[in-house]
Amino acid sequence: MKRLHIQLIAILSGIILILSSIGAYLGAISYAISALATIIIFPAFIISIGLLLSAGLKDGDIPFMGY
Amino acid sequence: MIRVFDQGIEGAGLFMIEFGDIVPYFSVYTATLFTFAIIFTLLATFSIPEKQMDIIFGGDAYYAKEIKPQDLRFQRFVAIACGTATLGAVVTGDIFNFTLFAAMIGITNIGIVASSRSHHVLNAAYQYGIVAMIACVPLFGGAAMILATTGTLSIWSLAGIGAAPILAKILLLLGVMGEGMAPFYIGKAEITRAQGAPFILMVHVSSLLLFLRVVEIILVI
């Protein structure tokens, strides 16, 4: 996957997560829907953040090639 | 919150489907089990099996074992059948229907392992198969006893009245245990040595979900 796609997923899922949280507090969306959305989107959010962090921008060292 | 059957066991009832004389229902609990069954069935359908690493004795060399395409195709077919049976078992609203799905899960579990070529794994699967066959007797015996004593098999009518005899419940539990649960882990553990992770995983998924469902049924009726 391209870095841009991962960035997009991370930002979108982050926004949805925060919105669903706020919505549940204000009573705009029901608690059950907010919970469901959080459970489904949270892994996508965390994994994309992790992948973003791990994808270095500069060239790395020569990797270990194995035996 | 609306609770299914007015019992504080499995959370809110969501919806039901009318299938002739059998009415499957989705409560929060069964819907969750259903979702996981779908997720794992999809994983078994679409992911390729792993290539098991093996070393050659007497050297540093190692190689990755591959599964033959025809074995793979068969394993995938049985794994999907197993997933479908699990889907049915976790939502059905009828005890006889549930036992049928359980029996089907037992058979497909053996089918998943059958394409392995290791003698050790096949021996374990054979023993497990014998247990699954014996288990049909308590499984259907339990359902038959519930029908004979209460006059109905529907979980909807049985829920909460406590009419089902304890003996029938224990037989049902014992049957499900034989079709794929403890204390027969040792058979399962040996089966796990077979190759083809997504398919072998279906063996565990189906038996765990089946067990979770039978616990719910026993508590509800």
């Binding site: - | 009828d94 006889f96 089907m104 014998i130």
Partner: protein, 150 residues
């Protein structure tokens, strides 16, 4: 003690024995409770035999596409419960009026025998039962075809 127990549990050749012991314990305990159980007969399907009917061994009684006398769990969902005669297609019905052998034909082919075994099953049950047979047959034939490769 625990070591001995784990030794027994760790041998998969003893699986069926352990299971058999469990079943025996439950059944012995169960036999004691049988006098306290009560029998409910209203789900039994009343079978009568009419040798002169064209559907003879297969005839389950009742008028096709009519009400059943068996107590259904959800009568509104399954009005024809129990009477397999009620499941006859219009074509089979027409055939039954013409010849005397429709019943024997149905029973003589595998589907009919399955149906005879499962004579009081309902909706989804019938589907599941046949799929069990199908899968079991699939597994057996796979193993049979593979037998020569070893």
């Amino acid at each position: 003690m625990i070591r001995r127990l784990s030794h027994i549990l760790s041998d998969f050749d003893k699986l069926s024995q352990i299971y058999a012991v469990l079943v025996i314990i439950v059944i012995i305990g169960g036999i004691l409770t049988i006098p306290s159980l009560e029998y409910q007969a209203d789900r039994l399907y009343p079978k009568t035999i009419h040798p002169e009917s064209p559907l003879d061994p297969y005839d389950r009684g009742g008028t096709p596409f009519e009400k059943t006398e068996v107590l259904a769990e959800y009568p509104e969902n399954s009005p024809y419960l129990g009477y397999v005669t009620a499941y006859l297609t219009p074509f089979s019905l027409a055939l039954a009026t013409l010849t005397h052998h429709v019943g024997t034909t149905i029973v003589a082919h595998p589907g009919g025998i399955i149906d005879e075994i499962l004579y009081n099953t309902r909706g989804l049950d019938t589907v599941v039962e046949t799929s069990i047979l199908f899968v079991a047959f699939g597994v057996a034939s796979f193993l049979f075809l593979r037998r020569d490769e070893e």
